[in-house]
Symmetry: C2
Subunit: 234 residues, 2 copies
């Protein structure tokens, strides 16, 4: 029997109509759907495309424990990959749902690393959150010969300052309780005035505001854009 194909499918930032035609076709025709969930919660990726999943589709939930240690998550991916492999061996295609783009901070990479040697893997790129946040804020991410840095807010304050200060345009992700630190850094760099905070881009409760007016603690789906803005001569 021919083995199935594993599809890593980006479903975009949140609005169901920001899914690509290819992703919608694959999801709409899927016999087996897989997705990670964090600490037993719901899957945001699944919620985006809930209306497109066929009624009879089998669902493989990969519950990833929320721990600092790597081993429990690795064991969860091992187990998830084994369950996916079982369906691929039986000749079924498996559509793995991924928020945003599968290979941009996505957990699909852990499944791909375990399965790519043995099975056909196809990745369907999706609309990533920086593009969605730039659209929400109507600010160019990068123009002409500017560099763009995607920077995790989890970095130490000095590293954050060095990276934001060294680049024309920056996207600061993974904010959470690090937002105050980001704000101190942009204050010192004199960049707070051109920094925008965006949360839940493309969703009904989207927030766009100057960084100076951002809440003290940010939700997971949020970022700060430190970009040139709308200079027509960029």
């Amino acid at each position: 029997m021919v083995t199935g194909t594993l599809y890593g499918v980006g479903v975009g930032p949140g609005a169901p109509d920001l899914v690509t035609l290819r992703a919608a076709r694959l999801i709409g025709g899927a016999a087996v759907i897989a997705y990670p969930t964090l600490a037993g919660g719901d899957s945001f990726a699944r919620s985006i495309v809930a209306g497109m999943i066929p009624a009879g589709a089998e669902e493989i939930r990969i519950d990833v424990p929320m721990t600092e240690a790597r081993a429990p998550a690795q064991a969860a991916y091992d187990d998830g990959a084994a369950r996916i492999a079982e369906r691929l061996e039986a000749g079924a295609d498996v559509v793995c749902l991924c928020e945003g783009d599968p290979l941009f901070y996505g957990s699909f990479m852990y499944l791909m690393a375990r399965l790519a040697a043995g099975y056909r893997v196809e990745v369907v790129p999706g609309v990533a959150s920086p593009a969605a946040c730039a659209a929400a804020a109507r600010r160019p991410l990068a123009a002409r010969n500017e560099g763009l840095a995607v920077i995790p807010a989890t970095l130490p304050e000095e590293a954050l300052e060095a990276r934001i200060g060294a680049v024309e345009s920056a996207v600061v992700m993974k904010l959470g309780r690090h937002l105050g630190k980001v704000r101190r850094v942009t204050d010192r760099l004199g960049l707070t005035g051109r920094a925008v905070y965006v949360a839940r881009a493309s969703l009904p409760d989207e927030v766009v505001c100057p960084l100076a007016e951002a809440p003290a603690i940010a939700p997971y789906f949020s970022m700060v854009l430190v970009t040139r803005g709308d200079d027509p001569w960029l």
Copy 2:
């Protein structure tokens, strides 16, 4: 009369089915479509969605001259914005087509800068080329707490080396005749072995190969990914 809305619509990296559902709906219902063309050539963005454009749609071509000087391009955007404004004033919506994502190195930002103060502007984010290249190469762009730098190959060699050497994961764009320089830099940094060259991602003539095997001169739609690869312990 109520003025129309300007939509900046990302049409993705090249494959027509990597257009989002929202973009397809807007294009399929458009009375007026606008797009820039470079030096009188065809529009790649238009070619991606040619099959979705309604038969009777009016098309506004904005021909941008290819010059080093900024003024001729600025004049072309002034003129294009004026023609778009005329249609918006008449109450028509205008759908502006953009390769990839409108605000990621897209020329839509020049039109938006000219029109956002006077008219309603909505940006529809699209699948950007780094996500498409990562999908083609099946390599994670960024994992966990890694930073990702998008770097124009047009930078001087020393700046290129400093930026690529300072970050966990890099996407080097705008290659063209700069590919040899990029290769010298990754050689010196000991990174050529984990660098991948991708051209025309998602198109039928897509190329994915190790940087060491890349052609001497790269086409416009190409980039080099210098990423960690597929380490399952990332």
